[in-house]
């Protein structure tokens, strides 16, 4: 579906809607008893991009997002937006999808979304228009008068996303938005996020599935134990990491790669072997492989985000 969000957006020209300025998390600290959730977490998100906030379970992602949304106070540190301390009023221009999804089960979908939009400061008329637009855009236009609890799981997820979007937020904070979605759902979600970022919104989402989302985001901050271990544009990070050389050779013994810095050796088909190398000279490897048998594959691969993460936190 290619309905443009912008042409129907309430409130006039889209370019004027978005307040330029980065969202900045500065030195956030938070502990629960003896557990340190955030240990001086800092990063900056520029508007108009999709920012991935990645890390394993328990890294402090949810705590950081709750602090951004003002649901939890930090023990120390600050969140700034456009250079100023973020206030409660500012946050009404934020959309939030918590990790623990939740809506009023007995409320009708439309009433629910209109209520949320009104809480974010829209008038009744604006709220109703925005609600209808988002329900259509997310393909659940016919479900507006059903109770939330009567919907399928997938449709409840869509309503949950609509709940974060219905007031046309300038900043979108999504905690594990892809969890529980099938590949089609992930593609739908990605499409919506790209459209919003393209229109100038700031989109930040968290995920513990690093490789699943590396195509979605332009910039990432990868966290571990409450601290950023890697940050920057996905492309730059990958280029900075050491590339892998992958070679598949058919009809050969196992001695041709002896003495080269191999990372992994896996037999694929009978009489065929796939070898990965670190820091090996491609020319040397290629000469050896050609001498040994038929080269079926010869590729220089960029490291995945999870490999970069493991390199960063590894011993």
């Amino acid at each position: 579906m290619s309905v443009s969000l912008l042409s129907e957006r309430t409130g006039g020209s889209p370019s004027g809607r978005y307040r330029p300025g980065p969202l900045e998390l500065a030195g956030l600290r938070r502990r629960y008893g003896r557990t340190v959730a955030l240990d001086g977490l800092s990063f900056t998100i520029e508007p108009g991009q999709i920012f991935g906030f990645l890390g394993p379970n328990g890294a402090g992602k949810t705590t950081a997002m709750r602090i951004v949304m003002g649901i939890e106070p930090p023990d120390a540190g600050a969140v700034r937006w456009g250079g100023r301390l973020l206030t409660h009023t500012d946050r009404l221009a934020f959309g939030y999808m918590p990790e623990q999804r939740g809506l009023y089960p007995k409320m009708r979908v439309r009433d629910h979304l209109v209520y949320l939009a009104r809480l974010h400061g829209l008038t009744t008329g604006q709220a109703a228009a925005a609600c209808d637009r988002w329900l259509r855009r997310l393909g659940i236009g016919a479900k507006g008068y059903e109770r939330v609890e009567a919907l399928s799981h997938g449709n409840q997820q869509r309503v949950q996303l609509a709940a974060a979007l219905v007031h046309d937020p300038q900043v979108l904070v999504l905690d594990e938005p892809f969890s529980g979605l099938d590949p089609l759902g992930i593609e739908d979600m990605t499409g919506v996020l790209r459209e919003l970022a393209h229109a100038g919104a700031t989109v930040v989402f968290s995920s513990h599935q690093l490789d699943l989302v590396e195509d979605v985001c332009e910039e990432v901050a990868i966290v571990d134990r409450g601290r950023v271990v890697l940050a920057g544009s996905v492309r730059a990070l990958k280029q900075r990491g050491s590339p892998k050389l992958v070679v598949e050779v058919e009809g050969t013994g196992s001695d041709w790669y002896a003495g080269l810095p191999t990372a992994a050796v896996e037999p694929t088909d009978p009489g065929r072997v796939r070898v990965r190398f670190h820091d090996a000279d491609p020319q040397v490897v290629l000469d050896r492989a050609r001498a040994a048998g038929k080269v079926r594959r010869f590729a220089i691969e960029e490291p995945s985000l999870s490999e970069l993460f493991l390199q960063a936190v590894g011993p």
Binding site: R66, E72, Y96, M97, G102, L103, R118
Partner: protein
């Protein structure tokens, strides 16, 4: 968004969603039917007009019947006097309650016993006294014609020092009904607050809402919405009861509007006091089945207030009635009884309300903090110390 608009939006949602629920309407209908029944049924079963006493006589002296009839008239009733064939016949009729009273010969007056009501006992005493006086006069040698006139002399009127009017009885009935309704209202609406807060917590919608609304505004909106709905339900009950009472010709004292006003005032004060504590109870639970345990102490306090109000009802100017209006958890149930049936000093209402409001302020702050601290805390039950820690 200003906090006021947020509170209004939350309250309106609460009113609308609850007002739409079948449970609410079912509860309201049951309540209204109950109130109408409580008003109409006693009126239908009640004795209308003067009571007629069934009196049997065995070997009675002449002139007894007219003497019994005038005694019954002195009690505001009538007497139907029958001469019975034998004492056995008379006693079995008495045992079967076809007779209220049996006079045997000139000295014995019999009543059934366990099932004898007060008016029959009163008549029995009057008849026995007449018989005794008559026997004395006979012994003194007075002629029978004189005796009849002396015994049947009209009794001197008895007057009350303090006026007893039907209004007092009716006011008491209104206060009794009002206290029962107050007890149920505080418990029920408190329960709504607890389950409403818990619903937000257990469905996890609280996190979405709290990203736009601060906890105090969410709490205030919820409490105000439920309070307004409750007040509306109470108003419907009061109106229905009044209409039903007028329809069946019940006597309504002129103080009825005042009684309704006083009960409404103390409902508001009591609800304001208890609601934030009920909300804190909801936020401190994680599952529906925990809520009654956590809210239990509150419902016990309300029950205690009701029990105290019952004893204040019988002695509305006693020590208990003078002290408990200054004990905030009890005051909402006790003070209406004291105000409507007792003779409070003019300063007692403002003083009691002031103590109540001060306590409410303290409780709202404490319970509000517990609510904010727990509404997003999932998992096990929250300890009291955890709950109030900032």
């Amino acid at each position: 968004m200003r906090a006021v608009s947020a509170v209004r939006l939350v309250a309106v949602r609460e009113l609308r969603e609850r007002g739409r629920s079948k449970a609410f309407w079912a509860g309201t209908i049951v309540l209204l039917v109950g109130v109408v029944a409580a008003t109409i049924v006693p009126a239908m079963l009640g004795h209308h007009g003067p009571r007629t006493f069934q009196v049997g006589t065995v070997r009675a002296p002449g002139g007894l019947a007219s003497s019994v009839i005038s005694d019954a008239a002195a009690l505001g009733g009538r007497a139907h006097v029958r001469a019975m064939g034998s004492a056995i016949q008379a006693r079995s009729a008495l045992a079967a309650q076809t007779l209220d009273l049996v006079v045997e010969g000139e000295t014995t007056v019999l009543v059934q016993g366990p099932k004898t009501d007060q008016s029959v006992t009163g008549l029995a005493h009057l008849v026995a006294r007449d018989l005794a006086v008559k026997a004395r006069l006979q012994a003194a040698g007075l002629p029978a014609g004189r005796i009849r006139g002396l015994v049947r002399a009209a009794p001197a009127p008895v007057r009350s020092l303090l006026p007893v009017s039907p209004d007092n009885q009716a006011s008491k009935a209104i206060v009794v009904a009002g206290t029962i309704i107050l007890y149920f209202a505080l418990t029920a609406y408190g329960g709504w607050v607890t389950s409403g807060v818990l619903e937000e917590k257990s469905s996890r919608v609280a996190e979405v809402i709290l990203s736009a609304v601060r906890p105090p505004a969410l709490l205030a909106g919820k409490v105000i919405g439920i309070g307004l709905l409750g007040l509306g339900q109470l108003a419907a009950v009061a109106l229905t009861a009044t209409i039903a009472a007028i329809a069946v010709g019940r006597h309504l004292p002129p103080s009825t509007p005042e009684a309704i006003g006083v009960i409404a005032l103390w409902f508001l004060l009591g609800y304001a006091f208890y609601c934030s504590a009920f909300a804190a109870a909801g936020a401190a639970s994680s599952r529906q089945e925990q809520a009654p345990t956590v809210a239990g102490p509150l419902t016990v306090l309300i029950l205690l207030g009701y029990l105290v109000s019952l004893s204040v009802l019988s002695n509305p100017d006693g020590a208990l009635a003078r002290i408990t209006p200054f004990v905030p958890p009890l005051a909402p149930l006790v003070m209406p009884v004291r105000m409507l049936l007792g003779h409070p000093q003019p300063w007692e209402l403002p003083a009691s309300a002031a103590v109540m409001l001060a306590a409410t302020y303290g409780l709202v702050r404490l319970a509000g903090r517990a609510y904010s601290g727990n509404i997003l805390r999932f998992g096990g039950r929250v300890t009291l110390r955890d709950a109030v820690r900032p």
